[in-house]
Amino acid sequence: MLEIRNLVVKIADEDKQILNGLNLTVNDGEVAAIMGPNGSGKSTLSYVIAGKEDYEVLEGEILLNGENVLEMEADQRAAAGIFLAFQYPLEIPGVATMTFLKAAMNAQRKARGEAELLTPDFIKQVNAAADKLGIAKDMLRRPLNVGFSGGEKKRMEILQMALLSPSMCILDETDSGLDIDALRIVAEGVNALRDKSRGFLVITHYQRLLDHIVPDTVHVMSQGKIVRTGGKELALELEKSGYASYGEAA
């Protein structure tokens, strides 16, 4: 369970405050969507939960299963079960995707006191997960995300999510840059991971992603706060009425 209480955050090197006392709870097994206008602080929220250093938390706490993650470095949060699917996955030239996947999986196992994966088991797991997402073997041999299309990058994020098996998945604008076919593949990948022990926080500007990943709850974020909460029908309402009443910048 993820609990965020009265979170106040500013950009580290500036006076600009982005999150202004945000409260949010995502239960195990719940798929929560956050929708909101551009500039409302959605991506900042995802980065702060994952542990990016460019922000300063002025007040509040973020608890994962009762444990305050704000004391942890990003890698410790990952090992504790937080996974952020990036809006813009980074390209890492010179690092083969398979090398990276193995390093990530083993680093998390090590942090949890588990034995390293044996190479045959690792390859079996990756191949099975890649098949489901329609990821070609050739892509796994290439440097991580280098030269991947937008859709390939997002599929690679979901592959990592499947392999790392986190308890709290955050998807930051996962639909951006995807055509409808890629969107369907990605959504199917996410839906396959829905589980009563796993929570999802799906951040999106548009409703269309939520046609494919149907949320249990929808939160509207504006000016660094959750301003409204409802069921999945709230997303449809927003699609019709827009964010105007929530302070969408012109």
Binding site: A50, K52, E53, D75, F100, Q160
Partner: protein, 449 residues
């Protein structure tokens, strides 16, 4: 303007005395003797290179060499030397120099492949071949370098390798130059590799010191590549005392329609100045100079190169990657000359440095001297920190910071080593890079505990 005659430093006087004492016994016939005399006269007129010379601006040898150590005398095949040789896991034709002298008994002379001839430089210097002084002189763009002049005057030994036309070597020629490091000594060695037309080979040079004493090493290698040949030269400069000072010159002349690549890894090596002088002797050739410098502490690595496009249709690529921590200093000076008739030259030069902390520095000085009008030449130099977004991405997947940094740094360095064709050589290079990064990772974990 008044002519200033520089006062002779202690080291310069010591070098003059050493040359006077040694010249009667240094190998070579009359032509070689004249070469030595001319070179030493050139050195005496100019003295040790210093920062007011543009090509030595960032590596002031006059200051660095407070005293010239005595010349190394004779092979000291200590247990430490033998242990280093045993530890070097690289298959190939192994030719060993110890303290600058060819050690036949430590070399693999039974394994010389057909079409390859090997002799010591000392033997080659007394041979009657007429082209010897031309070969030893190398490209003209290196002729007035005083570091090289000192090598020419005092070179004692090395290996002289000839690869016949059309010979393709499956395994590398490995020239291991070890200093015993029992005492502080200076070493002057030079080797030559003459690769025939249509030949194909990898030449590896390893420069290390087995013991703890700081060495002053002045090494040079002459490489001539025949028409249509494919030659790769890989140099590893490592395992030196922090106070050691080393000058390594590459004198390469490239035939027509040839491919020549040179790569150098510098790590844990004190102060190192590498200078590459390259000349295109024939058209339609491709040449690449690359390198990785891994620096920490107060280490200093200077890569200075002069590429002389003397003929049309030459392609040159330079790529140097530096990772610099501590108070260390990296230097890259690259000069590409395109002569007036060298049309259709295609040149690209890059130097990328990552500074790991404050106090580390990098000096980049790319220069293009283009006298032809139909050429494509470019250069780029960057100095940056590790990309914070890349680090965050890797950490968000569970990699602890030191491991995430090592992965990014390994990838950064690895780009310059990708072209190495011989897999065992490429693996050796990358294993040295990994070991350096692992040592750094271990240190950073200790300091955060």
């Amino acid at each position: 303007m008044a002519i200033v005659t520089p006062l002779k430093t202690a080291a310069e006087q010591q070098l003059a005395q050493q040359y006077a004492d040694a010249k009667a016994e240094l190998p070579g016939g009359p032509a070689v003797r004249k070469l030595r005399e001319d070179a030493f006269a050139g050195f005496e007129a100019k003295g040790l290179p210093h920062r007011r010379l543009e090509s030595w601006r960032y590596t002031d040898l006059r200051t660095l060499l407070r005293e010239a150590r005595p010349l190394a005398d004779g092979v000291k095949a200590t247990d430490a030397v033998k242990a280093r040789l045993a530890a070097l896991k690289l298959d190939g034709l192994r030719l060993v120099l110890v303290d600058g002298v060819f050690a036949a008994e430590l070399s693999d002379l039974d394994g010389i492949p057909e079409g390859v001839s090997v002799q010591s430089l000392a033997d080659a210097l007394v041979s009657p071949r007429e082209d010897l002084t031309r070969i030893l002189s190398g490209p003209s763009v290196g002729a007035d370098d005083t570091g090289l002049m000192l090598n020419t005057a005092l070179m004692r030994d090395g290996v002289f390798v000839e690869i016949a036309d059309g010979v393709e070597l499956a395994k590398p020629v490995v020239i291991v130059s070890l200093s015993s490091g029992v005492e502080e000594r200076s070493v002057f060695h030079r080797s030559a590799v003459l690769a025939g037309a249509e030949s194909k080979a990898t030449v590896v040079e390893v420069s290390e010191t087995a013991g703890d004493a700081a060495q002053q090493i002045n090494g040079a290698i002459v490489i001539e590549t025949g028409d249509g040949s494919e030659i790769q030269h890989i140099r590893l400069v490592t395992r030196q005392a922090a106070a050691s000072v080393q000058v390594q010159s590459l004198l390469a002349t490239i035939g027509a329609q040839a491919k020549f690549d040179s790569f150098a890894l510098v790590c844990n090596a004190g102060t190192v100045r590498q200078q590459h002088f390259v000349r295109y002797a024939g058209e339609h050739s491709e040449m690449g100079l690359r390198g990785v410098n891994l620096l920490g502490g107060s280490e200093h690595s200077d890569v200075t190169l002069v590429v002389d496009h003397e003929v049309p249709h030459g392609t040159s690529r330079e790529l140097f990657k530096s990772i610099i921590g501590g108070e260390a200093t990296g230097v890259f000076q690259g000069k590409v000359i395109v002569r007036p008739h060298a049309q259709k030259t295609d040149g690209g030069m890059k130097s990328n440095a990552l500074l790991l902390n404050e106090g580390a520095s990098m000096f980049n000085k790319p220069e293009l001297e283009i006298f032809a009008d139909d050429v494509v030449c470019g250069h780029g130099a960057t100095v940056a920190q590790i990309d914070g977004d890349q680090l965050f991405y890797l950490m968000a997947r569970g990699l602890p910071r030191p491991q995430a940094e090592a992965l990014v740094l390994q990838a950064f360095a690895g780009e310059a080593a990708e072209f190495i064709a011989d897999e065992s050589v490429r693996e050796l290079v990358m294993s040295e890079v990994e070991a350096w990064l692992a040592a750094r990772e271990a240190n950073s974990q200790v300091s955060t505990v």
